[in-house]
């Protein structure tokens, strides 16, 4: 298994390098001069030149790229052009809020989505199945930023059950603050995982070994949960990985609406201000998450599927 992990990590190296290069190129292609954004309309030409020199923006692009890759590989993300704070520090302040939101939303999605999928599959073409399918349709159809605004109005503003904004301090306060944003993201996730579980379980319930288990007199609950669901979890695991990454990217809009600190909100602001070091650092963190989640999904396969475990 260690060899497999090492191979996967090696596979990730070109991916990360490609991401770094794409980010670098995209940022330089993007119109917008960081010096103008930072110094504003009352800057002198000398000041603009001085700023570009201090930030290395006056160097040839190829040199800038080498310096960028070198710095990234040594985990030197540089300093923000706007605040002059180290990018690592800015990411460190914001990332925990994004991870917290992603994990809680994913947990909620799993908590509601998988049982809903099982319910729908077990009661195929009956009322619970129709209900779950209708919910999935609604879940896919409502944009998360709109749902977030609605939840805010109903539960935070009119009912006053939850805070309007902020990230909270201390564990319980943070859980209190994360509930509504996580619920917003979990809505789509529940719909996705519910639908995925239903499809996978229906397929598995039609397999020969399930029929055999029933023929041997196994109780229905045992057939469903012991024999069928475990095998149905393989595609669900893949879906969960994809869903986790989607939640991470979806957190951008949600962090804005709920005014939560977070890496998404940090990135949006940095993009608007052409704060290259923060954007680059943020994207690298996202790339790291993609690689890590994919690796975790691969590892989960090994745990769930004995055939893959044997190959590994």
């Amino acid at each position: 298994m260690a060899r497999m992990i090492a191979a996967r990590l090696l596979d990730a190296v070109p991916t990360v390098l490609l991401v770094l290069t794409l980010v670098f190129v995209a940022l330089r292609l993007l119109p917008g001069d960081p010096a103008l954004v930072v110094l504003g309309e009352y800057a002198t030409q000398e000041q603009l030149d001085l700023f570009r020199r201090e930030m290395g923006l006056d160097q040839p692009l190829l040199w800038q790229w080498f310096a960028f890759v070198r710095d990234m590989l040594t985990l030197d993300f540089g300093v923000s052009m706007i605040t002059r704070e180290p990018v690592v520090q800015l990411i460190g302040q914001n990332l925990p809020y994004t991870i917290e939101l992603t994990l809680v939303a994913t947990g909620m999605g799993l908590l509601f989505g998988v049982p809903m999928g099982v319910l729908a599959a077990v009661h195929r073409n009956r009322a619970p199945d129709s209900g779950v399918r209708a919910f999935s349709l609604i879940g896919y159809a409502i944009p998360d930023f709109y749902l977030g605004a609605l939840l805010l109005i109903v539960f935070a503003l009119n009912l006053g059950w939850f805070p309007i904004n902020g990230g909270g301090e201390g564990f319980w306060d943070r859980m209190y603050h994360v509930f509504l944003p996580a619920l917003t993201l979990a809505f789509v996730k529940t719909a996705f995982l519910g639908r995925l579980t239903r499809t996978a379980l229906l397929e598995t319930l039609g397999k020969d070994y399930v029929r055999t288990a029933r023929a041997k007199g196994a109780r229905e609950n045992r057939v469903v949960y012991r024999h069928a669901l475990r095998n149905a979890l393989l595609p669900v695991t893949t879906g969960l990985g994809l869903s986790l990454l989607a939640t991470l990217s979806g957190s951008v809009a949600i962090e804005l609406i709920f005014n939560r600190p977070g890496i998404g909100e940090l990135l949006i602001s940095a993009i608007a201000k052409r704060d290259y070091p923060v954007i680059q650092g943020g994207v690298v963190v996202f790339a790291f998450f993609v690689v890590t989640v994919n690796l975790l999904v691969d590892l989960a396969y090994i745990v769930i599927d004995p055939r893959i475990r044997a190959q590994a």
């Binding site: 800057a43 002198t44 002059r84 201000k273």
Partner: protein
């Protein structure tokens, strides 16, 4: 035009806010804790007044923490030399040629946190950083006329200028980056630490700065103007319109920065009829540059047609009292502005579609013209340009307009890629500043991005106002200088390289439970809160 996520969010916000009308009729009533104002910024970027890239939220905090040598009356702009009031300086005088300005400092003014007395050394240090070309500072260009500063004694400072400036207090003394720094604290802490833990003389001192909480301030008991009315303030940072509006509606914050977009004020009024809107006039100047190097804008008759087809009053009305139509380039509230009734008949354009069509036909465009251009997706830019587009269409002028990201728009404008450039700027109340920045030949925009903000190429593509501006800048008497500026206004109205469209106020929505202590009429986009208190 594409619909942006920002636009969708704004619409969702408007929808959400409108739906609030079904609920309670007023923001929640009094709450304990500091008076809180939420600004449309993401997080504090720094509280050093000379730092670049400060956000609106930073500026609000800086205004409470620092003082300038002189100041305007609270809630106003000082637009004439006699309008200024003492602050850190108790008296000042100018030489006859308006090139030397001497200030006598108030004695015993204390810096926060036991950092000692403010003296001429601190003033010289503050302005010295603006003079030093090796230090990147905020608003550096505004200090270009400053030659040197001297501190003959502990309580006197003297400024020497390259050219006369009868409104020196407005040009270089009351602007944000002229707030006086504590030299000792700055040198001890270094720029980075001072940035987040600054020392000033203001009515409030900084307790903490964090992305989550914003800036927490507490009243400075030794402030020379007396102790602030409220013991604490919080400057919160909520960038998203929806989140900010909801925070206000729920009563979690006392004041929020408004959205300069048609329909925002009526939406808030629907929810909370008692909301007070504090708005500065003029706020930003919104002017339209016509690129004289691009056909058909090089033809005066086409420019006149555009002027006649744009209905400034109608655009202003769409902003529900936040906007005033402009006649010339200077906002009507500032010295030097011309009034329609004082202009000769040929310069009183008004709104006249038939005449616009006739002029277009005379210019060889009987079937109209199409002009490609772009503008920013920011609410104020997009709203104004969409209205202009609609008005011009009635005269047969079709704007083939793209709406793009704000930073991209600025970068593209600075590379001379736009034919019609809407430019929004909150100019200080210095009558000559808009001309220096936007119409001098040396400020001409250049394709390599190293030019200025003269997007029309006025003074290069055709004779401009350079000589008249030089004459104005050599005039030490304020009234005589203003008279020259008014001549320039008329010249610009004759040539039409740049059209004044509307001013657009900066607006703060305030819960009536907070009393500011003064009415807001004009001024910069931040004002003192030392007299603010809860009244309910």
């Amino acid at each position: 035009m594409t619909t942006s996520r920002r636009g969708l969010l704004a619409q969702a916000s408007a929808l959400g806010a409108a739906s609030l009308g079904l609920g309670a009729a007023q923001p929640a009533e009094a709450q304990a804790g500091p008076i809180t104002i939420a600004l449309a910024s993401r997080a504090p970027t720094g509280l050093n007044p000379q730092k670049t890239a400060l956000t609106g939220g930073d500026s609000w905090a800086i205004r409470q923490v620092f003082d300038t040598l002189v100041k305007a009356e609270d809630g106003t702009f000082a637009v004439r030399p006699g309008d200024f009031r003492p602050s850190l300086a108790e008296a000042w005088e100018s030489s006859a040629d308006a090139r030397t300005w001497t200030y006598r400092l108030r004695r015993g003014v204390q810096f926060h946190k036991g950092q000692g007395e403010m003296t001429s050394e601190d003033v010289a240090f503050t302005y010295g950083r603006q003079l030093d070309p090796s230090i990147v500072t905020n608003q550096k260009a505004l200090f270009a006329n400053l030659e040197r500063i001297e501190a003959p004694d502990r309580y006197t400072v003297r400024f020497h200028l390259r050219r006369p400036d009868p409104l020196f207090n407005g040009s270089m003394v009351t602007t944000l980056s002229a707030n006086i720094l504590c030299k000792r604290a700055f040198e001890e802490r270094g720029a980075e630490r001072f940035n987040m833990d600054p020392i000033g003389t203001g009515a409030y001192q900084v307790d903490s700065v964090s992305p989550a909480q914003g800036v927490m301030l507490s009243a400075f008991p030794q402030h020379f103007g007396g102790v602030a009315a409220s013991p604490s303030l919080r400057i919160a940072f909520i960038a998203d319109t929806t989140a900010r509006t909801l925070a206000f509606a729920s009563g979690q914050v006392d004041m929020i920065e408004g959205v300069r977009q048609p329909g925002w004020i009526p939406t808030i009024r629907q929810r909370a009829p008692r909301t007070i809107f504090d708005a500065t006039a003029p706020g930003s100047f919104n002017s339209l540059h016509l690129n004289l190097t691009r056909a058909p804008l090089d033809d005066l008759r086409v420019r006149q047609a555009i002027r006649l087809a744009i209905n400034n009053a109608q655009i202003a009305a769409a902003f529900s009292g936040l906007s005033v139509p402009m006649v010339g380039i200077i906002a009507p509230q500032f010295a030097g502005a011309v009034k329609d009734e004082d202009l000769p008949a040929e310069l009183r354009y008004g709104h006249n579609i038939a005449r616009a069509r006739t002029l277009l036909a005379e210019a060889g465009h009987p079937n109209g013209v199409t002009i490609p251009c772009f503008t920013s997706q920011r609410e104020d830019y997009a709203s104004i340009m969409l209205m202009i587009q609609e008005q011009l269409r009635a005269a047969g002028i079709n704007l083939d307009m793209r709406i793009i990201d704000h930073a991209t728009m600025h970068a593209e404008n600075r590379r001379d890629r736009n034919a019609m450039t809407l430019y929004s700027s909150s100019f200080p109340p210095i009558p000559w500043q808009p001309f220096l920045q936007q119409l001098l030949s040396r400020a001409q925009v250049k394709p390599d991005g190293r030019g200025g903000e003269n997007y029309s190429h006025y003074g290069v593509a055709m004779p401009g106002i350079d000589a008249q501006i030089e004459k104005a800048l050599d005039e030490p008497d304020f009234d005589r200088r203003v008279a020259v500026i008014q001549d320039i206004e008329r010249q610009v109205l004759r040539d039409l390289p740049l059209l004044g469209i509307v001013t657009l106020s900066y607006v703060i929505a305030r819960n009536p439970r907070v009393d500011l202590g003064f009415p807001v009429e004009s001024g910069y986009a931040y004002w003192p809160l030392n007299r603010a208190r809860r009244v309910a």
